[in-house]
Symmetry: C2
Subunit: 678 residues, 2 copies
């Protein structure tokens, strides 16, 4: 059974890698740019849509201001990028906002940032792949309705790729992003030229009328209108996620790391701004009409839209208008968008396990998340991310307009705390800098972070204010729960560390006075004889065989057999009026302890090793229960003496040690301080 699962694992994941393979050549800028930018750029696949369909609630004229909303978002982005360019120089370790918040604002803020980022990475995967599934459906309408399956398939593929780990070429990540940027620039340029020539086509949805929501009778006027614009802005802020990627991955860059990261940030910002704004202006020019639910939000000549109408994403409608519906250009744009969304999810598959591993090292998450798997990836982190993302995809049926409500909360919590941390950072620097010139530079830096703080805090307030009831509460809840979990786990680890620390006065060479060995006997068969032999070999000060009299017939038979065989160990029968095994045994051990408190008691328990899972159900149940119970008794060591039933031969872990053989090398690191034989 095990070897079969092992074989499946080998096929899916590949042969294990040696630890030395961790060392990897640093990333050069031209390969780093696409990887670092994918997350930020991929939002062009959904952010313009979300801005437009939010504004569409107030009617088609309201949709016309979407490019202006996009412009404001880009301004915010540049402020954040400018401040991150400073941060990455001050904290070039790759531990990112988590480190900035921890160091400057204390562990509570650090934990909050970490919780927020973990939630955000999960949402990056869920939103990107849900969006990708709609691009797949736009290209292949026959798949309509399968969006959750498609997105799940994406998660599974990425999970396997990441479990396979460091085998992949970096080019495979870089190429689609460059192609996407190129294709989008080409499309926007063509669109611009057509528009100038007056030959620009119309979007497939241009002919539909947008039915305004009854809640917005006067378009964007009044408080309701203002709130709607703010909601569109906060939804569109999804375009800002991914800006934190360079600072979280700066350690993988070629030297000079920090300067390269700063350059990459700027390039990312410029490309994102051109593509996002170009898309939004062009979408207005070709009259893209998108709404949350086409069946109720759109009409055609006063009647409903045709049955089975599938609303393509904005990029799809642009490609349709510029290249034509079934054209190569259309399919290329669709395909490349899906590829970029996959690369963006892939960066989350890198960031999440990385952050989780950092948190595990600091004792905020279970230690298992620190372990590198066969292929050197943090397998447990990768699997946790995959499960969480798949759960979200199915709960929301891969519906981007709903998922997007949860998004952004996490990243803006982290932005805001990071800005605050940097303000503190500069304040400290200032206190340590007497010279005038450097002081002026530091003050300028601090001012930038102050502007950044006000801006990101304002966006966070807008996001929470306009979207809390639309779904953001779930993200907030996730962050709070994760925070509580990490905090209590950390307290636990700290408490255990203190409890287990070796006291300065403690002599590491103190020994228990005497060893009193007990062999637990049920039926007198080979395993018991072996347990007795092993117990005798350990030369205890005192050795007893113990039978607990839970079944008088069996007890008598065992004692008789013991005498018949002439085993040179005294046997003691413990009365058990309530047919229990553990209670009389523990009572007996306690009575020994009362008489000689400094004795060490070793209980030898014969145990079966079985090969089939159901055999475990019919053997050892009592042994396991007794062992668990004896663990609670102070001063007792439980020694399992295994007896391998013949059925266990096939299940033995024979093959797996071969694997280790080539690398096995025993080195005696420390010479014996004294001889152990005393």
């Amino acid at each position: 059974m095990l070897s079969f699962l092992d074989a499946v694992k080998r096929i899916l994941v590949g042969r294990p890698f040696r630890t030395e393979r961790l060392k990897q050549a640093p990333l050069r800028k031209r390969l780093a740019l696409p990887v670092f930018a994918a997350s930020g750029l991929s939002s062009i696949a959904y952010a313009p849509d979300e801005v437009m369909l939010t504004l569409a609630l107030a009617g088609v004229t309201a949709m016309a201001i979407s490019p202006q909303v996009g412009l404001v978002i880009m301004v915010v982005m540049f402020v954040i990028i400018a401040s991150y360019r400073q941060s990455v120089k001050a904290y070039p370790s790759g531990r990112g906002d988590y480190e900035i918040a921890s160091v400057n604002l204390g562990p509570k803020a650090g934990t909050t940032v970490a919780a927020a980022l973990l939630v955000d990475f999960v949402l990056t995967v869920a939103v990107s792949l849900s969006s990708a599934s709609h691009y797949v459906i736009a290209a292949f309408p026959a798949l309509a309705g399968m969006q959750a399956w498609i997105a799940t398939a994406g998660v599974v593929i990425l999970t396997l790729l990441n479990l396979r780990g460091r085998g992949r070429s970096r080019l495979a990540n870089a190429a689609p992003v460059y192609l996407f940027i190129g294709a989008l620039l080409l499309m926007l340029a063509l669109g611009g030229i057509f528009a100038a020539m007056g030959t620009l086509g119309q979007a497939p949805s241009a002919g539909f009328e947008v039915i305004p929501d009854p809640a917005y009778p006067d378009g964007l006027t009044g408080v309701a209108g203002l709130l709607l614009v703010l909601r569109a802005f906060s939804t569109g802020s999804a375009a800002l996620t991914g800006v934190e990627v360079p600072i979280s991955n700066v350690h993988t860059l070629a030297e000079p790391k920090a300067r390269n990261a700063a350059t990459l940030l700027l390039m990312l910002g410029l490309i994102a701004a051109v593509l996002t704004l170009g898309t939004m202006y062009l979408a207005r020019a070709v009259n893209v009409h998108v709404v949350e639910d086409p069946a109720t939000g759109l009409s055609l000549d006063g009647g409903p839209v045709p049955a089975g109408y599938i609303q393509d994403p904005v990029l799809g409608q642009l490609a349709h208008a510029i290249f034509g519906g079934e054209s190569v250009g259309f399919f290329a744009i669709m395909l490349l968008t899906v590829a970029v969304l996959l690369v963006a999810s892939h960066t989350a598959f890198n960031s999440f396990p990385n952050l989780a591993s950092n948190l595990a090292t600091d004792g905020y998450l279970p230690r298992q998340l620190r372990t590198r798997g066969d292929r050197l990836g943090f397998s447990n982190g990768i699997l946790s991310l995959a499960f969480a993302a798949i759960a979200l995809i199915w709960v929301f049926n891969a519906h981007v307009p709903t998922l997007i409500q949860l998004y952004v909360v996490g990243v803006f919590v982290s932005f805001t705390l990071s800005q605050l941390g940097m303000i503190k950072h500069w304040g400290r620097e200032l206190a340590m800098t007497p010279d005038k010139r450097p002081r002026a530079r530091i003050q300028r830096s601090r001012l930038l972070n102050m502007v950044g703080f006000v801006l990101t805090a304002a966006v966070l307030a807008i996001v929470l204010g306009t979207r809390l009831i639309h779904g953001a509460w779930l993200a907030v809840l996730g962050i709070v729960v994760l925070y509580a979990l990490m905090d209590s786990l950390h307290r636990h680890y700290v408490a255990v560390d203190e409890e287990l620390a070796i006291d300065t006065g403690q002599s590491p060479t103190a020994l228990p006075a005497r060893v009193h060995a007990l062999v637990l006997v049920s039926t007198v068969r080979k395993p018991v004889l072996r347990a007795v032999a092993f117990a005798r070999a350990s030369r205890p000060s005192k050795l007893d065989a113990i039978v607990v009299d839970a079944d008088s017939e069996q007890t008598e038979a065992s004692v008789a057999e013991w005498e018949r065989l002439g085993i040179p160990v005294p046997i003691t029968v413990l009365a058990s009026p309530y047919r229990e095994i553990s209670a009389p045994l523990i009572e007996y051990i306690r009575s020994i302890k009362r008489d000689s408190p400094r004795d060490l008691i070793v209980v030898y328990i014969p145990e079966y090793v079985v090969g089939r899972w159901w055999e475990q159900l019919v053997h050892n149940q009592t042994a396991v229960r007794i062992k668990n119970r004896l663990h609670y008794e102070p001063g007792v060591v439980v020694a399992s003496v295994p007896w391998r039933l013949s059925s266990s031969d096939s299940a033995a872990y024979g093959g797996s040690t071969e694997q280790a053989s080539p690398g096995h090398k025993t080195i005696s690191a420390v010479p014996p301080v004294s001889n152990a034989k005393d």
Copy 2:
């Protein structure tokens, strides 16, 4: 957590009983009769209904022959009773048909009988309590639709009563059965008198017309009609279940056990015959019209029956006709029927765990079924029965006409094999008896069992022929699966016994040459120091501390700390290029074994004992995995050195040993044959 569950258990089940309490006064006949008869008599609650509604498929005139069908069933019953009266004298151990089949026909037949009876006991509970739920609804129509819940509540109540075990008064079982017999006799007598006076009322359903099934256009004529009569007969055979109860419980009777059991069998038969036939004749007289589905099978003045019409069982309709609808008599009959059905299920709750325990002792079921619980009942058997019965109740929504199709198969498999076994038994007796007189007696006995065999085999054939597709296949499947399970488990136990038996030539005093102890070190903290101290206390021939280098930073820190503390044990670092712990360790152990094959290797593993369930998730994962893997290595003993974290204090099993204290008494049964200290 544990102490809370313990408290709940104490409230539900009560304080544990001492083993001595098992000895119980034997049952006298007048208390045994009701208990032994309940199962047989309780079928009056549903068997007449099933006969009538099966015949109703061929129309109302076909229903008129139901008393004749009942008469044939009673004839079969008396043959079976007569043969059981012989069997119980030959096999008075209380192991019943299982023993008769095992001894005379071999273990395969015995296992078949056991599997059949286990299935049948589950069905007894499911059918009886489903039927009881309909009586409850007849008395309280507001509960209509809740039948599965009511039946489940019955199972839960009986389970708790049986887990509480021997505390109950036998009178509580006996009284309702006597009252039921009395009340039914009174009702039948009154009905007879009213009929003679011509003042007998009509059943509530007398006014309805029965709509014949289109499959039976000519009533009971032809082959279809004959098959329907046979089906009615086989369904009505449910009245025969319960005849096996006396032979399965003969050991609880007062002396002379076998003769008392035979007398009880006869009395049971007479009472059952009078009540069953009386009920069926009277039901015809008051024109009870019952069908499987009143909505399609009944009509009123050519139209459908009123909406919400609840079809009362036959006994209910009789009570209605004789005592009146809302009368005390009606409610008394309903209540007593429910009580008798509960007592009948209760006998199954006795028989199933008893048989399961016998099977476990013989190695056909897991040993856990042999363990007596706190209150001396076979708790695991009781719980298994309860789960199986509840599953059946919910799968069939407590619908008796469907459940009854599964019933009877098991009991007739066991009847038939038991008769065959008795024929063999008499054959053997005959071979050993030379005298003429006793030979004639034996031949008469054998003839009776031959008649019984032909009859029960014929009924089994009819049951399988007419009901296999109606649901009996599920019971057959259950028997086959259970047989396969018991058979393979038995093979396993036999194989293990052979494997573990101590060879005659084997010296029980052979000792391993030397002991080589290894202490597994991860971080150097208190638990490791304790493990080292314990290992040194056991004075091994050789002692090594082992660090597996899965994480180079941690390894260096551990080795440095080891040196700093001056622990007088050499430390060995094992290389682990694939970051595994077990594989390098096992490779190292194998290399030791290669050098000195007769050495015993003891691996000391420091282990945390934690108090909260989630702490188990974040500790010990590696220790548990290593232990499991080391169990497969021959010649290795794993010694767990527990370190109790402070959180484990509250969860320690402190209280439970007090319970054992009063009965605790250590007796040295065998004087030391030689001194263990060598």
